[in-house]
Subunit: 463 residues, 2 copies
């Protein structure tokens, strides 16, 4: 009798293995799935199946249950399941300078606070400590991919990879001596070594980051661009952030920053230009024609009074536009939910049109738009079968999120990074139910505070 029963159960198991659900590594079950795919499909009561590093299914909970069985399951009832956020412009280690100096103009802030502080504190150890803190903050607030421009970028890469985040990391090329390079030539050599070390990494895309036109001459800008072309890696640059930058371009014989860069042969696919505030319609047409991606940083632009980027103009021109927080020294955090909210609110009031940059548009900028700006929209930026599993689960049950008529509205207008419950990158769970699994939070915060003491001392000496 027992033997017969065992045989019977075995037979069922065999049948089930042939025709039943496929076993996969993880199913996120029964949430409000905001796919950000081409149709902006939202599936209430939907699930996402992940196997290894990739998304293998996005559908109703019933359909996914029939097709897949997760070795691990995350219950997302009442929560939003959506693509991880793409922060297209930051300087991760600068979290160690957050709130060090506020309410100052960009050049005053850079020349009298940030550059001197950097001169005295930036080192491989500083950069590693800062990246760990930034990674902690990004994981906690739902950013899964970020683009970075800083020094000792290979150290940033190490910590980014250890934290499990996806990064497009640009080694800075700048005309004056900095912590990791005495000359632009040194910086270019360092960038090349960095590219070689990380060229085929699954999480890290190495990049070359000429700082800006006002911190590099034409030949250096061209050399940086040539290097990234030679290795087919992205070029990251600050572009037309302040009105003063236009003057620099004009001193070099071009009417605008965009035309100046274009005259150098700098613009092309693979270039991600941060800020893009002071651009004309003609400039935007050039950016579109050259296939340049642009990163919009509303909070930094507001805080430093840099200006208001023509977001509607970029969208009308079809430029690949993403959102960024900029470094935490000018924001002062890395919360992409706030960047979305600010992008929507600022454009409305600036253009005197409350329909400008809807919640849906803001959400697109922070996900698939950012992926597109980085040239990564075939891999990330939406929940679609075959894309990498960069997924976040976002709580929707706070008093300030109650009631909920429209999850898209809530994601942009009342949700914060802190509402993110679970963060997954490349199929790996980095945070689960607010517990970060890849970093020791207490140790990271302690180390950051120790560095802050050194920063404080450096700035006190300077002033």
């Amino acid at each position: 009798m027992l033997a017969t029963f065992a045989a019977l159960t075995g037979a069922i198991a065999v049948v089930s293995a042939q025709t039943g659900p496929r076993q996969v590594s993880l199913v996120i079950a029964n949430g409000i799935v905001v796919t950000m795919n081409g149709n902006s499909r939202v599936i209430t009561g939907g699930s996402v199946a992940i196997d290894g590093t990739d998304i293998v299914g996005v559908d109703t909970a019933d359909a996914i249950r029939q097709q897949f069985r997760g070795r691990d399951t995350i219950d997302a009832a009442g929560q939003v399941v959506m693509p991880g956020l793409v922060n297209t412009h930051t300087h991760a280690p600068m979290v160690l300078y957050r709130g060090l100096a506020d309410d100052l103009a960009l050049m005053d802030w850079l020349n009298n606070y940030i550059f001197p502080a950097e001169a005295k504190t930036v080192s491989p150890e500083f950069v590693r400590a800062g990246t760990k803190l930034a990674a902690l903050e990004m994981i906690e607030s739902g950013t899964t991919t970020y683009a970075d421009m800083y020094y000792f970028e290979e150290e940033i890469a190490k910590e980014t990879k250890a934290a499990g985040l996806r990064g497009v990391l640009g080694e800075t090329i700048i005309q004056f001596p900095v912590a990791d390079a005495k000359t632009p030539a040194d910086a270019l050599a360092r960038a090349e070594a960095f590219i070689k070390a990380y060229k085929d990494d699954p999480l890290i895309t190495p990049a070359v980051a000429p700082h800006a036109i006002y911190t590099n001459d034409g030949p250096t800008l061209q050399a940086a661009r040539e290097l990234s072309k030679r290795y087919n890696v992205p070029t990251l640059i600050h572009m037309a952030e302040t009105q003063a930058e236009t003057k620099t371009a004009q001193e070099r014989g071009s009417p605008s920053v965009v035309t100046y860069l274009d005259s150098l042969g700098f613009l092309g696919p693979g270039v991600l230009a941060a800020h893009g505030v002071w651009v004309s319609e003609a400039d935007m047409a050039i950016l579109k024609a050259r296939g340049v991606g642009v990163s919009h940083n509303p909070e930094s632009n507001m805080k430093l009074a840099s200006g208001i980027a023509p977001v509607r103009g970029y969208l009308a021109a079809g430029v690949a536009l993403g959102l960024g927080t900029d470094g935490a020294a000018s924001n002062n955090d890395l919360d992409m939910f706030e960047a979305m909210r600010m992008a929507a609110l600022l454009q409305k009031v600036a253009s005197n049109d409350p329909t400008a940059v809807s919640a849906k548009t803001a959400l697109q900028l922070a996900t698939i738009g950012g992926a597109r700006a980085l040239g990564m929209d075939r891999q990330i930026g939406s929940l679609e079968r075959g894309k990498h599993a960069d997924v976040i689960v976002v709580g929707m049950s706070a008093a300030r999120q109650t009631p909920m008529y429209d999850p898209i509205s809530h994601l942009v207008y009342v949700t914060r990074g802190d509402d993110v419950r679970t963060t997954i990158v490349n199929g790996k769970v980095l945070m689960r139910n607010r517990k970060v699994l890849t970093l020791d939070e207490a140790a990271v915060l302690k180390e950051a505070k120790a560095w802050a003491d050194k920063v404080r001392a450096a700035v006190t000496t300077n002033h």
Copy 2:
């Protein structure tokens, strides 16, 4: 021997009672005390002593320990202790409409969504459920006093009082029939009854709230103002929110909304005017001369593209200026930390000056400035001996708040309502360590969701 010992202990107790620390109801100990007093004193390692409803001591932790012994103590180590936030303009029950309709112009939003939804759902029960949800959100985000304009204001008063919040609550006077009044005369009668019922309440200040000039004719505005003068209670009004309102004033023979109201004899001490976007320097001079308080609502003004209020102009003119969130239907939450951040960032970019509205100024607007705008700055708005004990304790240990160079910067640029740990109003602890003590959170959220179903049905029928 025993008797001698007892006598000795008794003697010591008597001495202690005469010269030792005075027993008080509560001491908040050893925090970063941001007083917002006239000198903007910040006491690192400071304490606040509260007895009954009032603050009896604000000093270093050592000094307070020598003077006071709390029957209850709240440890604020590493946290900010500051005055509760003053939200000078909202419509509490409208939290039940949050996210119902976004990305629309004010008049479209009001006439096609909000007014129809209100016509079908506003009732005493609706208003009570909404006020409970709003109170929960305000307590959770550190607002201790709020100014409200809505219908069935006596129901709002009941729930505000039950939740333990301080409220300046204005019964709406509006020309067209609304849920609680068929005519302005009905509304005025209702307002008068409300005033009589709450005139001497320790927490509730009843007020009269003529909605705006575009929703009331001159005689109704004057009657509303007369009523509030007769009882010496505040008058709350929407003023110069959109450019269209200036047209209304001009049709009535005045160049601006301010001059129109002034021609009616409407402006004077006790008037709190919300928005004040479309005002000239001459208008601001009139507001200053008349002693009118103004509520700045940056998020609502941005979201509805109403315009950018001249905050620097108000400050230069010496107008009593506070901050408000506006109703959650146009914000979409009641977080005053976000209002501060937005006030600072918006003015910087709008005036092309990053020094405009510093973190300190933004914090003043949200505390003592708001108290001044409401004419309550002798009672609330700062941590000073003799003022009511409206105090909040704010966490400063999140990754996005690390490191901390300046608590004022962090309060404005990286802190959210959710960081508030403890909220005290009139000496009573309403939330302790994130646990709200005066409301049943689960029940409040459940009731709000039930009302949302009715709202959804009302709007679906309408469109």
